[in-house]
C-alpha cells in the first residue's frame, strides 16, 4: 500500500512538475514557414551532367550552370528559379571589323606591285596591313587576297660605292 502510494505520489509530482515546467518553458511560437534557398554557381558544366533541385517550394538561384552538351537542370515545380545569367545584360557583341578595302584605282596605299602568273593580274603590297591586295575593276576597290602569296623580301641595301 505504501509503495503504491509512494509511486502514485511520485507520478503525480512528476506530472505536476512536468506541467509546471511545460507552462514555464512553452514559448509563444509564431510559426512562419521555413525558408529554403539553393544557390548553384559555376557547376554542372560539361557533358551529360544533371542538377536536381527538389524541396518544398523555395528559391533556387543559378549562375553559369549547365553549359556544354546534354546538361540538365531539373527543378521541382514549386521552386522559384532565378537565373542570374538571364537577368544580367548580355555583353555587347563585338563590332565586326570592317572589311579591309581601299577604294579608287588611284589609291596609293601600296608600296610594291608584282605580277602574279596564277591570277594573271597585278598584286599590290600594303606595308601597313602586311597583306597583298588585288584590284577589282567592278567596284573599283583593292581587296586583300584570301590566300596570301609569300611576303615580299625586303629590298637589298643599295651597294655602297667607295669614293675614289
Amino acid at each position: 500500500m505504501f509503495s503504491f502510494t509512494l509511486r502514485a505520489g511520485l507520478c503525480a509530482l512528476a506530472a505536476v512538475g512536468g506541467a509546471a515546467l511545460a507552462s514555464a518553458q512553452t514559448p509563444t511560437i509564431v510559426r512562419t514557414p521555413g525558408g529554403s534557398t539553393t544557390v548553384i554557381t559555376n557547376s554542372g558544366n560539361g557533358v551529360g551532367n544533371r542538377i536536381v533541385v527538389s524541396g518544398t517550394g523555395g528559391t533556387t538561384i543559378v549562375k553559369n550552370v549547365r553549359n556544354g552538351i546534354g546538361n540538365r537542370l531539373i527543378l521541382d515545380p514549386d521552386e522559384v528559379l532565378i537565373d542570374i545569367d538571364g537577368l544580367l545584360p548580355q555583353p555587347a557583341a563585338k563590332p565586326q571589323a570592317k572589311p579591309l578595302v581601299y577604294s579608287g584605282k588611284a589609291n596609293a596605299f601600296w608600296s610594291k606591285k608584282q605580277f602574279n602568273d596564277e591570277l594573271d593580274c597585278n598584286l599590290y603590297w600594303s606595308d601597313t596591313d602586311r597583306l597583298w591586295f588585288r584590284y577589282y575593276a567592278d567596284d573599283d576597290q583593292y581587296r586583300p587576297l584570301k590566300v596570301q602569296p609569300a611576303t615580299p623580301k625586303a629590298d637589298p641595301p643599295a651597294p655602297v660605292v667607295p669614293d675614289r
Binding site: L21, A22, Q25, T26, P27, T28, I29, V30, R31, T32, P33, G34, G35, S36, T37, T38, V39, I40, T41, N42, S43, G44, N45, G46, V47, G48, N49, R50, I51, V52, V53, S54, G55, T56, G58
Partner: protein, 162 residues
C-alpha cells in the same frame, strides 16, 4: 583507392536545463581536400536528436565541403536532418535559446534552425555525385554549390525538406 570519410555532428538534446544551451550550439562539419581520386565517399551530417514538445532545439547546422570528391565516381553527401527548433539572430520567441541572439523583436523565427550546406570545388570529374539536403521542419534551409560537378556525367542533387 576507396575511402569513406564520415563526419557527423549529432545534437543530442536533453529535455530540461540543457535545452537552450543545446539549441544554441553550432554543429559544424568542415571537410577540405579530401576524398579526391576514385570511388571515394564523403559524408557530412548533422542530425538532430529527439526534441520535446516545448524545447527549442535545432540551432545552426553547417556542412562545408571544399576541394573534395574530385575525380571519378566519388560521392559527397552533406546533410542536416532531424527535427527541432531554432531561431535566427533577431528572433523573438525564446530569448537566449535557439540561434544565439534572440533579442530583436520582429525577427523571423525558424523552428527548424538554420541549416546550411556548402559544397565548393568538389565533385568535378566523371560520374561524381553530390547530394546536399536539409530536412528540418520549418528551418531556414540553404544549399550552396559552387564550382562543382563539372565534367562528364556528374549529378548534383539538392533537397530542402519541409
Amino acid at each position: 583507392m576507396k575511402n569513406l570519410l564520415l563526419a557527423a555532428g549529432v545534437a543530442v538534446l536533453g529535455l530540461f536545463a540543457s535545452a537552450s544551451t543545446a539549441s544554441a550550439q553550432h554543429n559544424r562539419n568542415v571537410i577540405g581536400n579530401s576524398g579526391n581520386g576514385i570511388n571515394n565517399t564523403i559524408v557530412a551530417q548533422n542530425r538532430g536528436g529527439l526534441s520535446g514538445p516545448f524545447v527549442p532545439v535545432g540551432g545552426r547546422n553547417t556542412n562545408v565541403i571544399s576541394n573534395s570528391g574530385n575525380g571519378i565516381g566519388n560521392t559527397i553527401v552533406a546533410s542536416n536532418s532531424g527535427g527541432g527548433f531554432g531561431i535566427l539572430p533577431g528572433g523573438c520567441y525564446f530569448p537566449g535559446g535557439g540561434y544565439p541572439g534572440g533579442s530583436f523583436p520582429g525577427g523571423p523565427v525558424f523552428p527548424g534552425g538554420v541549416n546550411v550546406n556548402v559544397v565548393t570545388n568538389s565533385g568535378n570529374g566523371v560520374g561524381n555525385t553530390i547530394l546536399t539536403g536539409n530536412s528540418r521542419p520549418g528551418g531556414l534551409n540553404i544549399n550552396v554549390v559552387t564550382n562543382s560537378g563539372n565534367g562528364v556525367g556528374n549529378v548534383i542533387s539538392t533537397r530542402n525538406g519541409r
